[in-house]
């Protein structure tokens, strides 16, 4: 059993491609491109979910103005450093 075309290194001058599974390059390209497009689809969905959660949180706190006021008051009180 061998995954590649290399049987020994004594005839290296005759070798071409030496990675495993020579001949599957077309299939690998299809898999790679599918993963790339799939990543974008996943990322766009994840980003939309994240933004929706952010918007819900902002609205729950009373809108952007209230969030900014809270931030100022938090910094003034310096809760973390006290």
């Amino acid at each position: 059993m061998s995954t590649g075309l290399v049987d020994n290194w004594l005839n290296v001058d005759t070798f071409g491609a030496i990675y495993p599974f020579v001949g599957t390059e077309g299939f690998l390209a299809i898999v790679g491109i599918a993963l790339w497009i799939g990543w974008h689809i996943w990322q766009i969905k994840a980003e939309s979910t994240e933004f929706q959660q952010d918007l819900d949180n902002i609205r729950k706190q009373g809108g952007p103005g209230a969030v900014l006021d809270e931030e100022v008051s938090r910094e003034t009180k310096d809760v973390v450093g006290r």
Partner: protein, 467 residues
């Protein structure tokens, strides 16, 4: 490879390009630091991730189709000829993997192709790829704090793996149609990287709009200062450092100009480094001119900005960019003077466009890369007027009109217009800009809230422990 000297030339060339790659990596490190320094603290995480994630996305797409475009599109296609076969550059080519250069396994590849491409393909691909990252990264800085990362990454792939590499095929290869027909000369990429990236950024900015608070109600611009100017300047220093690799990667290290692969002059040999057009040059020439154009840019930018660090550093970069088209041939003092002019053009144009058209370019990328690059391409037409654009017969000579048309193709045709169209489509789908409420409170609100909560919990735990 059996011949020792021939092997040495091939393996030296392989090593030469490999060295340029980690050097150019520093450009990306610099851009990331620069952007994080320029953004406000509530946007840091997304700003950093936006630029970082273009690395894998542009890399894999450049593997899938970018590299093939470079060789296949030299004729347009269908401007002066058809698509060109590039069997070593397809993602399914054996030449895109570990290969010892023998045993032909695929149609369209000869044994001679194998000997060369089996050693050079990966490093040459990577050197071009790092240019791709740079093109996308230039755009990244100008759109910070309001573009959706998902939209930016689509646009990054468009410039990094499609439009810039089309312009390289056309105007930055020994047989590109712009070189043949226009005499286009752009040895160190004033146009093919910088003008296109600047134009591309401008195309997005026209659709994206300014950051909230950038302009007053009557349109007067406000300064949104960098959160950390020192990080910005270190970032720019790193970009300078990486630029050395960029310049060296634009050359071919050793070729017999009279040899059979080139002019084929019987009985003569002349070994030299060449630029991408296979015209002889030297590393000394580009070293002199790089430093002198950088210096010209720094001197003038310091003067016009009255010592502002951000613009002084950016002006150094604009200086190099403005001289890059002809830095293989200029005298160092010419490079210095042109560098100074480039910095002046970038600084003045940035503020004129900002005031006149209300364009919010957060880091001045359109000016430093776009306007200085455009200027650099055009001025090379005057400086190098009448020089042959190629060692090969039948090519147009370098001229002001050829360079002007070339600059328009770079900045507008392959830069601004495709970016504007795709940005318009993304805007129409409502996915170009982050929601207004999130922009108001800061894009990192989730991360920041979580960090805050974590810190509070830890602080409380310590207090409880203290009794």
């Amino acid at each position: 490879m059996e011949d020792e000297l021939a092997s040495l030339v091939v393996i030296f060339t392989e090593f030469y390009y490999w060295i340029t790659i980690p050097l150019m990596f520093l450009i990306h490190v610099g851009f990331c630091m620069y952007e994080v320094g320029a953004s406000r603290y509530k946007y840091h995480t997304h700003t950093l991730m936006k630029n970082t994630m273009l690395i894998p996305l542009v890399t894999i797409t450049f593997f899938f189709f970018g590299w093939w475009i470079y060789f296949a599109f030299v004729n347009g296609p269908w401007i002066i000829g058809p698509l060109v076969d590039a069997p070593h550059a397809t993602p399914w080519s054996e030449m895109m993997g570990t290969h010892m250069g023998n045993a032909v396994q695929q149609d369209g590849l000869t044994v001679a192709d194998h000997g060369w491409w089996s050693r050079i393909n990966g490093v040459f691909w990577a050197a071009f790829l790092l240019f791709s990252w740079t093109a996308a990264s230039i755009v990244s800085g100008s759109v910070i704090e309001r573009i959706r990362p998902s939209a930016f990454w689509i646009l990054a792939i468009l410039i990094g793996s499609v439009t810039w590499i089309i312009d390289a095929a056309w105007g930055w290869s020994w047989n590109g149609w712009m070189v043949q027909k226009l005499g286009y000369h752009d040895a160190y990429a004033s146009g093919v990287i910088h003008a296109i990236a600047g134009g591309f950024a401008l195309g997005i900015l026209m659709v994206l709009g300014p950051r909230i608070g950038k302009f007053t109600a009557d349109g007067t611009p406000r300064n949104i200062n960098p959160h950390n100017p020192w990080l910005v300047t270190i970032g720019l220093f790193l970009i300078y450092t990486g630029f050395w690799g960029f310049y060296v990667a634009c050359n071919i290290p050793i070729i017999d100009v009279y040899g059979g692969l080139m002019l084929d002059v019987e009985g003569k040999s002349f070994f030299s480094a060449t630029n991408i057009y296979l015209q002889p040059t030297t590393l000394s020439a580009i070293t002199l001119n790089f430093l002198m154009s950088l210096s010209g840019g720094l001197l003038v930018a310091y003067m016009v900005s009255k010592g502002d660090p951000f613009w002084t550093y950016s002006g150094g970069l604009a200086g190099v960019i403005a001289a890059s088209a002809g830095n293989d041939l200029y005298h160092p003092i010419q490079a210095m003077l042109l560098g100074g002019c480039g910095a002046f053009v970038a600084y003045k144009m940035h503020y004129w466009v900002e005031n006149r058209f209300k364009i919010d370019d957060a880091v001045g990328a359109v000016a430093v890369h776009g306007y200085a690059g455009f200027f650099g391409v055009v001025v090379a037409g005057f400086m190098l007027w009448g020089y042959p654009s190629s060692p090969f017969e039948g090519y147009a000579t370098i001229s002001p009109w050829g360079q002007f048309i070339g600059a328009v193709i770079m900045f507008f045709v392959l830069g601004l217009i495709p970016a504007w169209i795709v940005a318009k489509i993304l805007h129409g789908m409502g996915v170009l800009r982050i929601p207004r409420e999130i922009e108001l409170v800061g894009l990192d609100i989730n991360h920041e809230s979580q960090r805050s909560t974590d810190a509070d919990e830890v602080a409380q735990a310590i207090r409880d422990e203290a009794g």
